[in-house]
Amino acid sequence: MLLPLGSAWATAQGYDAGVQDYEVSMINGGTGSHSDQRLMFPGKAYWVYVTAEGDLIRSYYRSYSFCAEWVGDYHGMQAPLAWADEEAAGFYNTLAGSSLWAGQFISGNDAAMERHWKDPAFGGVDSDYIDNAHLAFFVGHGWEGGFVFGTAADDYNLEYDEARWGNTKTDWIILGSCNTLNESTYRENWEDAFEGLHSICGFDTIGGTHPDMGSHFATKLMQGLTIKDAWFEATDRWVFPSDGNLNAAIMAADIDGDLSTTPDCLDDHLYGYGTSINPPGDPPDFQYKKHECNWLDGV
């Protein structure tokens, strides 16, 4: 945002209205906590100290990027997944309506590929695909150890130990896939995937799809709900009755090892729609929440 000022700015400091205090400053050319690569958010107040005259030009480019992939047709190897396309497209098209977020790509069925989600260290190309966007959304079959594609490129299963997300760009992953955030296995399976990633949304149990779930989720994000709240709202609103054991879940990086009091990635909002916190590449801990989708008791 300050690029047009070049070397004419020295420091910039945000004000956190929530805690009524100034944030750590950004220093032109700074690194670490004072890095000038940190994000600035439209609608938020900053003091900017300048050393010379300059023109601050409003950017007309969308600042943040996202992508979506979905698989409904598994060519008989898995049962077809109803509404995967509508759910992903609903999310994509709704968020594309934001003036701040630009859709990079949406790929479905055989065009959605495991290599797009796999780190180059394991032969994948995620740095050119999903890890080259701030947020990636997937709808397809899953299990505790990963999620499933309809074509073998490079193979059918993206397994947790092939994922290293956030080492290029990705901050948030949404997995509309069964069991990917199972309460018993989420930490052991996915902690190494957090390489700058803030959080993963998914399901603790079997999951649900619905044509309107993706657009509802995007709408809630753009209304300023946290990613956690938006995910739980969307799943709660649109899942069909099951047997009372359908839980949506979120796993989020904790930045300081104190799970109970301080704001963490669990409280992230989408960029441009509220605050968020950058986690370290190797988070000291994680927070996990699961929400029972409550339309199932009563029989």
Binding site: G76, L259, S260
Partner: protein, 315 residues
């Protein structure tokens, strides 16, 4: 000649090795015949089970049951304000997309214009990490049921025909009291009241109240289908419903299920999320049980639409 045979042999060997290398290490196992044989009647992934038996005495057969026609619900801005007033909120009512809103402090009220789907939420505390909502501060289940019921009744929010149906618990990872150990604990108690028609539960249609520490209301959601009687139809017997499972398969996390044992059969109505096209609420059997796979056991469920005249689809 011999040299040529060796070259061809080597070439075949290289092709075999190369072919083996491109076979994925964990190919998702499936049976195409199975997926095409099963009749998809609902929204969840189903699996066929070769052997199904019952471990219970099945409920008595009901010869006929009422089918209900769904009725569109529309909410005006005035309706929204009147509903919000029941929560002590007075406006202003804002519009955003398909909903009306009132943003208060600490609660936000929202109601959908075309369905009446309603939420009343204390964002920041609901599903949050507030000290006040640690497990030791939550009401007991019995207390929660009383608090939630009283709140809905005293504020004229209990839908007609809704009845208490169960309690669930949202869970989150927190620090243990001793220090750094991460523990998973309840962080919200949700009391559910489900709609009833013809003395049967309407699963998917109801109102719930989530309570936090000290019994504070953190969230109320109403997801409801308005209906009117259509006509009575003959319905399947419980035995016939179990027989139907062979055609529809079951919903289970168990891989390659081999044997299923039914432990619960109940008649109910099945309501999809409002705005999903569903012309009728049909009598439906809820069937639950245990399932054995090749190397694991678990549970299964399935809903079987009970009116043969209306096909097999749940909605």
């Amino acid at each position: 000649m011999m040299k040529g045979q060796i070259v061809i042999g080597l070439a075949i060997l290289v092709m075999i090795v190369a072919g083996t290398m491109v076979i994925p290490s964990e190919y998702p196992k499936g049976n195409e015949d199975e997926y095409t044989r099963l009749e998809i009647t609902g929204p969840y992934l189903v699996k066929g089970v070769p052997q199904i038996s019952s471990a219970i005495v099945l409920p008595e057969r009901l010869e006929q049951a009422m089918v209900y026609k769904t009725v569109d619900t529309t909410v005006s801005k005035d309706d929204a304000l009147k509903m919000a007033e029941k929560f002590g909120m007075s406006g202003p009512v804002e519009e955003y997309g398909t909903s009306y809103f009132i943003k208060g402090s600490p609660y936000t009220f929202e109601i959908e214009k075309e369905t009446g789907y309603m939420t009343y939420t204390w964002y920041g505390r609901w599903m949050g990490s507030n000290e006040r909502d640690r497990p030791e501060y939550l009401p007991t289940d019995e207390e929660a049921r009383k608090i939630a019921g009283m709140f809905l009744i005293s504020n004229d929010l209990m839908p007609e025909g809704a009845a208490y149906s169960g309690i669930s618990h949202d869970r989150g990872a927190m620090l243990s009291a001793e220090g750094n150990e991460t523990v998973v604990a309840d962080q919200g108690t949700t009391v559910m009241f489900t709609g009833r028609l013809s003395n049967l539960s309407v699963v998917g249609s109801g109102i719930y109240v989530t309570l936090g520490g000290d019994g504070d209301v953190l969230r109320i959601v109403k997801r409801w289908r308005d209906v009117e009687p259509y006509k009575e139809f003959s319905i399947l017997s419980p035995e016939e419903a179990i027989e139907e499972l062979r055609q529809t398969g079951v919903v289970t996390e168990v891989r390659s299920p081999m044997r299923a044992i039914v432990d619960e059969v109940k008649l109910c109505y099945y309501a999809t999320p409002p705005r999903t096209e569903q012309p009728y609420l049909k009598p439906t059997y809820y069937i639950h049980g245990t399932v054995e796979g090749e190397s694991e056991t678990g549970t299964f469920f399935q809903y079987i639409q009970a009116v043969p005249e209306l096909g097999r689809g749940l909605y």
